[in-house]
């Protein structure tokens, strides 16, 4: 894998390291094992959603419906007593939403912003129809799967590792992964070379929908209850994490490693500001400034277009 296609720069990788070192040195609370476990739980959902967002970004798209998919997944989760059926329903819903988004973008030619904003609005309405106010019980076995430990390792870390490994292998070791990069950099050229650009694009959105549903299941299980606004902050946070991770929103450049770094940066910032007791409003100001600064220093230099 050539470096230039990954979008990784020393800033991308350095930022989370710098933040982690600064926090570890300055805040004793941050170094507590319990805080690290909490931190893992906090970033896991964002990481999973952002990895999905990355797939769409690689084909020069954007998915603003990830938040609504997460919320709807949590609403579906509390509507079922059977955990297997509940998860299956949530994942099927994610697949369906992804397919609709993908077909709208790749076949009907709707701009990704408009397409996914429409589905996001639609689904958000559906969430409130199903579950007007937060409530309900997530099946206990799912709660255990999201908060428990295996051999002393907190399960959120395990889920993160699985997601990273799966998406990492997909993007760097499969034909589909290579075609994501090809379709994202120049759809017409890719098409002329025999890449099935439409199919690849639809698949990217489906993948994003499934990842968002997974993130929703995980987050709902962590809080053990359903919430129609569970994912409200995720569309923008996932795009921010992807951008911080050096993934180019114009397509064709990015990497799982970058998304991990971007998610960690965002999570560390939130966690650190919490530790220092900074007002949540000011947190938004800082996050916005950081995002702009980080994206400015890592614009694509190498690869044309």
């Amino acid at each position: 894998m050539t470096l230039a296609r990954t979008g990784l720069t020393r800033y991308t990788v350095g930022l989370p390291l710098l933040l982690a070192v600064l926090l570890a040195l300055s805040a004793a609370d941050f170094r507590q094992p319990q805080n690290l476990v909490n931190f893992g739980g906090q970033v896991a959902a964002l990481l999973i959603a952002s990895l999905g967002q990355m797939c769409v970004t690689l084909v020069a798209g954007i998915d603003l419906s990830v938040g609504s998919v997460m919320s709807l997944a949590s609403c579906l989760l509390v509507s079922q007593a059977d955990p297997v059926l509940a998860v299956a329903m949530a994942l099927a819903m994610g697949t369906l939403v992804g397919a609709v988004n993908g077909l709208g973008v790749a076949v009907a030619g709707v701009h990704p912003l408009v397409m996914t904003l429409s589905t996001a609005t639609f689904l958000q309405g559906l969430c409130h129809a199903v579950l007007p106010i937060p409530g309900g019980q997530v099946p206990p076995s799912l709660v255990a799967a999201a908060t428990g430990q295996v051999a002393g390792v907190p399960l959120p870390f395990v889920w993160c590792a699985v997601a990273i490994a799966a998406l990492g292998a997909l993007t760097t070791r499969t034909r589909f992964g290579l075609h994501l990069f090809a379709a994202g950099s120049h759809p017409r050229s890719a098409h002329l070379n025999g890449v099935r650009v439409r199919a690849v694009t639809v698949s990217a959105y489906v993948l994003c929908g499934v990842m968002a549903a997974t993130a929703g299941v995980f987050l709902a299980a962590r809080v053990a209850t359903g919430d129609p606004n569970l994912g409200a902050s995720f569309p923008l946070e996932s795009v921010a994490a992807v951008a911080l991770g050096g993934v180019q929103l114009t397509g064709g450049i990015g990497s799982v490693a970058g998304v991990v770094a971007g998610t960690l940066s965002l999570g560390l910032l939130t966690n650190g500001l919490n530790v220092f007791g900074v007002s949540p409003f000011l947190r938004g100001v800082l996050t916005g400034a950081l995002l702009l600064a980080a994206v400015s220093v890592q614009r694509r230099r190498h690869v044309g277009l």
């Binding site: 050539t2 499969t174 050229s189 002329l192 070379n193 025999g194 099935r196 190498h302 690869v303």
Partner: protein, 510 residues
Amino acid sequence: MTHVPMVTPERVVLNNVSKSFGPTAALRGVTLTGRAGSIHAVTGENGAGKSTLMKLLAGVHAPDDGEIRLRGQPVRLSTPAHARRAGVSTVFQELTVLPNLTVAENLNLGREPGRLGALDRGASRRRAEAVLGRTGVALDPDRLCGDLSVGEQQLLEIAKGLAADADVFIFDEPTAPLNRTEVDQLEALLVHLKAEGKLVFYISHRLEEIFRFCDTVTVLKDGRLVGTEPIGALTPDRLVTLMVGRELEALFPARPEEAPGEVRLDVRELVATAGAPPVSIALRRGEIVGIAGLEGQGQRALVRALAGAERPVGGAVRVNGDDGTARTMDTRHGTVGAVRQGVALIPEDRKAEGLCLDLPIQDNIWLGPLRGLALWRRARRDAGVIRQLRERLQLRSRPVDAVGSLSGGNQQKVMFGRWLAAGVRVLLVEQPTRGVDVGAKAEIYTLLRQFTAEGGVVLAVSGDLPELIGLCDRILVLRGGAVVADVPGAEATEEGLLALALRDPSGVSA
């Protein structure tokens, strides 16, 4: 050369195919037979339908009517991937190399080795090395293609086409960005394919190459078949006549009898880029001055500095108006400042740097007069001016047609029309007829000559030496950024200019 009758089997038959794009008929009932072991030229003016015809075979477009037969079997080729599986490999005119993929990844794109969707990088690399070795293209398989030059990308494109396991090859004007040695290399590869019994379709309007490589020529005009002839039955003149559909009068207009007038553009000690030698030239009213030189000898930088597109390091440019006023051009004001002084650029890449392809002809032309108009002024279009220009430029399309739908020659005329409408007196033209067919070339030369006859000045950069020799009153030769010779057009020869462009580069400061 004696003509041997064809006995090889029919490999491709396009039978009575038609294709329309909206209201425009691109192909009307064309029939073409390609035989094994043949290099078959498909030629015609731009817009004649030769690329469209080949795109039917390449799976890019489906014919509206008619039949395609491969090795005797009727086929439907619905996608490029499908056509490639059917044994048709295409090198498209547009570069399809992806910048974020490596050479090996680009070579194997769409048919990556590996099982169950997994990539086998080792196999991909080995396959790429084998192909590059066979085609004599010296590129590192692990290099990122965004780092390749245009020429290297074209070679990669050709290697990619040859790498396919195909028995029909289509080359759509592959030689445009190639130098002489690279063209020789390509010729060797094509001859090799022919010897292996493959069928090669070679789309080009370069007569020299058609007569060098090809054994059969099919000529199209306005989407119709003019004829298919063995090369031995044709002469270059006869072929041009078939392409144009009429005997071509002299390609270049006559040079004016009278001496050029007073100095219109006075360039003194202009240093276009840091480290380049200063250039002083004077262009006189009524002159067409050419700039020759090898690729990358500062032609582009010089012209762009004069046009205000790039800011020069030093020097002065004075523009003398019709009324005898002399003004120094302030290069800080960019192209807008230059146009105000009556100096404008027709760029090499007119699609990216010149025209708004989605806008109609009239709006593209009207952008010229709009320059320098204050933002709050009403931008009223003058239909009379557009009408006059359309007549002068011999544009057959309607003023409301999108510029993107026009042929290269007509697009170039629209660029020209924009600056005529703006009242420009000095035109800087990069590659005046790149991507322009034979018939339109002559029209553009005439337009340029007409422009100078009315007191304008043209400075033309071109890599096409016969064009410079035929068109220009004098030709400046650039080497290492310096003007090393000033040759009257009537005395210039290709060999002479080339010798001047090449001569002892050690004399130029490194």
